[in-house]
């Protein structure tokens, strides 16, 4: 139904030049198309990775001037100019992103503003190429009707490409980085790299729109590409609904058409934009599309375990365009869920088998820490810690609050670099390597406060772990290439079998945000296991769990151990759990190892008793 509606909308839009010869209407409609292209691309950056750019007018300008220079100065065909516009804008985007994305959030926003202003400055100053303040004239112009059709087709294509991207491993990686860059890195994704790709893609879209704009207008000048234009782009996206595939379209329509009705108020345009921006921030956090579509989280309820049946309804509540471009998802999802258990088991066995041949057998050492020390200011969080972790089994790390347990995990997983000492994984020094590198070497972890990717479904969360850094080509993901889809199917199947093994299969299609706290922790563990690690680091997995849930966790960890799962380092306060599952316990206090041995030996150790009870026994 929704698909028919969208297709009908497209046909109606395509028929516009046949119905009216009014150039004004066609021009406005073309402008809607251009804005849709820019915002669809911007959505990849802002909506998917959560980074804000206020400099995309700069890429729009680069696209426009690339096309203008190609056809006017070099005398080449416009059919060459627009692709060139995309390439140049994307190339500049990649370079700018490399520098600018060393920072995020407010820093990035300001750096992109600076970029936009620099581009504007260059347009004015570099007269030989850009024509200076006067701009470039006499750019070849197709008849308006044709130009409109081309723009409409590109706009529709943009929305489809972005929808393809959203469904791919890349799309999940982008949203994972937005949800928790820390957790994404622990699964082997470099947040920096993923953001650079998003930035580059969005710059390419802006370049395409700019190139088309040059040929629609026939004339370009620096005035069209100021900070105001960047704000307009962002506003259209936020107003329409960031992160939603249909958001850019709706935002573009409103933001282009509304000012045309209010031409008498040109002087008040900034006030209008500012007010709309405030309105969308205050009252439309999910944009128009979000406000019109039923809320995902609420409809599915927050955590009632008995609501299995609502999965289908939840899927039905998706916005029009999302459904239009994702026809396969729902049937596929259901098929997977009902899929044969046998295939699932196979997938899981594959996933849980340790990777290297050297990891087989017990008694060997997987990870060695020697004399690691780490101080924050004057406080020694780790002081000369040495320990060895075997290739299998569960080793617990316990100690009073502030003993350095989490710091140790952070050092092992690469989030902190020890000041001195070494950490070796299978003989490879890993101290100070970035988290995603260590994750790719087979170290996976969970976090003290469960870090799930809230905007992804439970299944997709695990799929991020399954895919890890193997995302394939972003261009293939945009195009929805068949091999990308096939790979994606396999990833989803494997993710589902992992969920099944972890007892979360019934939640697969829910947004991870909707999971109750206990299940979030379990999802985190399943997701960490999805990377097929050799070493799994669990940071207080039992914190906040009910006694029944702790018992389940207990059984789960033991099952993991007996079915040839990875070596586990467990940081935990629940002593019953620690004593029940671990073969070896290391006790930290004030950053030092004060005891190490079997559970019984540690329990009897006077130093441990003193550390916990504060008095000599």
């Amino acid at each position: 139904m929704a698909r028919v509606l969208c297709a009908g909308l497209f046909v109606a839009a395509a028929a516009l030049p046949l119905l009216t010869g009014n150039t004004y209407y066609l021009y406005v409609a073309s402008s809607v198309g251009l804005l849709t292209i820019v915002t669809a691309g911007l959505n990849v950056l802002v909506g998917f990775t959560g980074q804000i750019s206020l400099g995309h007018a700069g890429f729009y300008a680069i696209g426009a001037y690339a096309a203008g220079v190609t056809s006017v100065r070099l005398g080449l065909s416009p059919w060459l100019g627009v692709p060139l516009a995309i390439l140049v804008a994307a190339a500049v985007g990649a370079v700018v992103a490399g520098a600018a994305l060393r920072v995020t959030g407010p820093y990035l926003a300001m750096v992109t503003i600076a970029f936009g202003i620099i581009v504007e400055g260059i347009l004015v100053e570099w007269v030989a190429v850009t024509g200076g303040p006067g701009g470039i004239f006499n750019i070849p112009k197709p008849p308006l009707g044709q130009a409109y059709w081309i723009i409409l087709a590109v706009a529709a294509l943009s929305l489809i490409l972005v929808a393809n991207l959203r469904r791919s491993a890349w799309g999940r990686a982008l949203l994972a980085v937005k949800g928790s860059d820390v957790a994404a890195e622990s699964l082997g994704l470099s947040a920096y790299y993923v953001r650079i790709v998003a930035f580059t893609v969005s710059a390419g879209f802006a370049g395409a729109a700019g190139g088309l704009f040059a040929h629609l207008n026939g004339y370009i000048s620096p005035d069209s590409f100021g900070l105001q234009a960047s704000i307009l782009f962002l506003l259209a996206l936020l107003f329409g609904g960031e992160g939603r595939v249909a958001g850019p379209l709706l935002g573009s329509v409103v933001l282009t058409v509304l000012p045309e009705f209010l031409t008498a108020l040109t002087d008040y345009r900034l006030i209008l934009y500012g007010s709309l921006l405030m309105v969308s921030i205050y009252w439309l956090p999910q944009g128009l599309v979000g406000a019109l579509a039923p809320r995902r989280g609420e409809e599915t309820g927050r955590g009632g375990a008995g609501e299995r049946g609502s999965r289908g309804e939840e899927a039905q509540g998706r916005a029009c365009a999302e459904r239009q471009v994702e026809p396969q998802r729902d049937p596929a999802g259901r098929r997977e869920e009902q899929g044969s258990r046998g295939a699932g088991e196979r997938g899981r066995d594959e996933a849980q088998r340790p990777r290297g041949p050297e990891a087989q057998g017990t008694g060997e050492t997987l990870l060695t820490v020697e004399g690691a020390s780490l101080a924050f200011g004057g406080v020694a969080a780790l002081a000369d810690v040495s320990l060895e972790i075997p290739v299998s089994g569960i080793r617990a790390v316990i100690g009073p609050n502030g003993a350095g347990k989490t710091t140790l995990l952070n050092a092992l997983s690469g989030f902190y670099a020890p000041d001195t000492g070494s950490i070796r994984l299978n003989g490879t020094p890993v101290a100070g390597r970035p988290p995603y590198t260590i994750a790719r070497l087979g170290v996976s972890r969970t976090f003290q406060t469960a870090q799930v990717f809230g905007e992804l479904t439970v299944l997709e969360n695990v799929a991020v772990g399954v895919a890890g850094p193997r995302l394939g080509s972003v261009l293939a993901a945009l195009a929805g290439a068949p091999w990308t889809r096939r790979a994606d199917e396999a990833i989803r199947r494997q993710a589902l079998s992992l969920l099944d093994a972890g007892g979360l299969a019934e939640w697969a299609a829910r947004p991870a945000d909707a999971l109750p706290a206990g299940l979030r922790r379990r999802l985190e563990i399943v997701r960490a296991l999805a990377t097929a690690p050799r070493l799994l680091l669990l940071d207080e997995p039992a914190a906040g769990l009910s006694p029944a849930e702790i018992a389940e966790l207990d059984a789960y960890l033991i099952r993991l151990k007996t079915t040839g799962g990875p070596s586990v380092v467990l940081v935990e306060h629940h002593m019953d759990l620690v004593m029940a599952v671990s073969e070896h316990i290391t006790v930290l206090d004030y950053g030092r190892v004060i005891a190490s041995g079997t559970p019984d030996a540690v329990r009897a150790n006077p130093a441990v008793i003193e550390a916990y009870l504060g008095a000599a026994a």
């Binding site: 804000i52 206020l54 520098a99 600018a100 060393r102 920072v103 959030g105 407010p106 820093y107 926003a109 300001m110 750096v111 503003i113 600076a114 970029f115 202003i117 620099i118 400055g121 260059i122 004015v124 100053e125 820390v182 900070l227 105001q228 704000i231 962002l234 936020l238 002087d267 008040y268 345009r269 900034l270 006030i271 934009y273 500012g274 007010s275 921006l277 405030m278 921030i281 205050y282 956090p285 924050f376 989490t406 952070n410 989030f415 902190y416 976090f447």
Partner: protein, 275 residues
């Protein structure tokens, strides 16, 4: 000379990890208000300064209420957009009331330039770094030596704990925004004679000040003032030897360079990664 404006970013950042992204527009507001009283109504300079600073502080407080407080708790970056929204609204209002043209702001200190190595300076331009240094000293003293300053820093470090210790957080953040806007007012009055007063002067000032804040380190007041003076000197020489267009490009290149080498700024402290 942008250090003065950049201090405004520092003050709110240190307190609340938020900023007025339209700090430049606040400078513009300071210049426009001062122009209205000093030139428009013919008030004496001292009265103009007082009234301007009071108005600006109130604007800052109002901004915090409208654009920052609703989002501070949520931990979202919406304050970034909402302060920009307020900025462009302010620019439009100024354009409607003040007009689109730039106007000269008379000052005794911009009569004759002092030449240093090919680049010209006005006495007014020398006054700005001096005031900047004084204010920086004041801000440093305030944050490191007074109880209330320390409370503000505590808010930034951990709002919940600070709240439990009896610090009135909304008031602390509001105070920071008022102070920040007041500094912008001072900057507006000082810059008005050099730059001429215009409704559109805000964006570029705010942007360069932010560049300075990044270069110096958002968490370091001395870093910001040093970076501000350095940035101003580099700009003057580039503009003197090459062109005014090259000035922006060099400035941006500097920011990129700093971001690559030290993303937390020359004198800023590296934020600990929270895992």
């Amino acid at each position: 000379m942008y250090g003065l404006v950049a201090l405004g970013y520092h003050i709110t950042w240190v307190t609340s990890r938020t900023m007025n992204f339209s700090q430049g527009h606040a400078v513009m507001a300071g210049a426009v208000v001062a122009f209205a009283f000093y030139v428009g109504l013919g008030w004496p300079l001292w009265a103009t300064v007082i009234v301007t600073l009071v108005i600006l502080a109130l604007l800052g407080v109002g901004l915090e209420r409208v654009a920052v407080r609703p989002f501070f708790r949520a931990g979202s970056a919406a304050w970034l957009l909402s302060t920009i929204a307020c900025g462009i609204i302010a620019e439009n209002v100024a354009m409607l009331t003040f007009g689109k043209d730039a106007r000269a702001f008379p000052s005794a200190l911009t009569q004759k330039p002092i030449l240093v190595g090919g680049a010209g300076f006005y006495a007014q331009e020398l006054l700005i770094p001096v005031v900047g240094l004084l204010l920086m000293g004041g801000v440093q003293l305030f944050y490191h030596r007074t109880a209330y300053g320390k409370q503000l820093k505590a808010v930034a470090y951990n709002p919940e704990a600070a709240g439990l210790m009896g610090i009135h957080i909304p008031r602390a953040v509001m105070f920071a925004f008022g102070l920040s806007a007041l500094l912008a007012g001072i900057a507006g009055i000082l810059l008005a004679p050099i730059l001429n007063v215009a409704a559109t002067m805000g964006s570029i000032i705010g942007l360069k000040a932010f560049a300075v804040a990044i270069i110096g380190g958002l968490t370091s007041a001395p870093g910001i003032v040093v970076a501000g003076v350095g940035y101003g000197l580099v700009e003057s020489f580039v503009a003197g030897y090459f062109s005014t267009g090259a000035r922006e490009i060099v400035g941006f290149a500097l920011v990129i360079l700093v971001l690559i080498v030290r993303p937390w700024g020359l004198l800023g402290t590296r934020p600990p990664r929270r895992v």
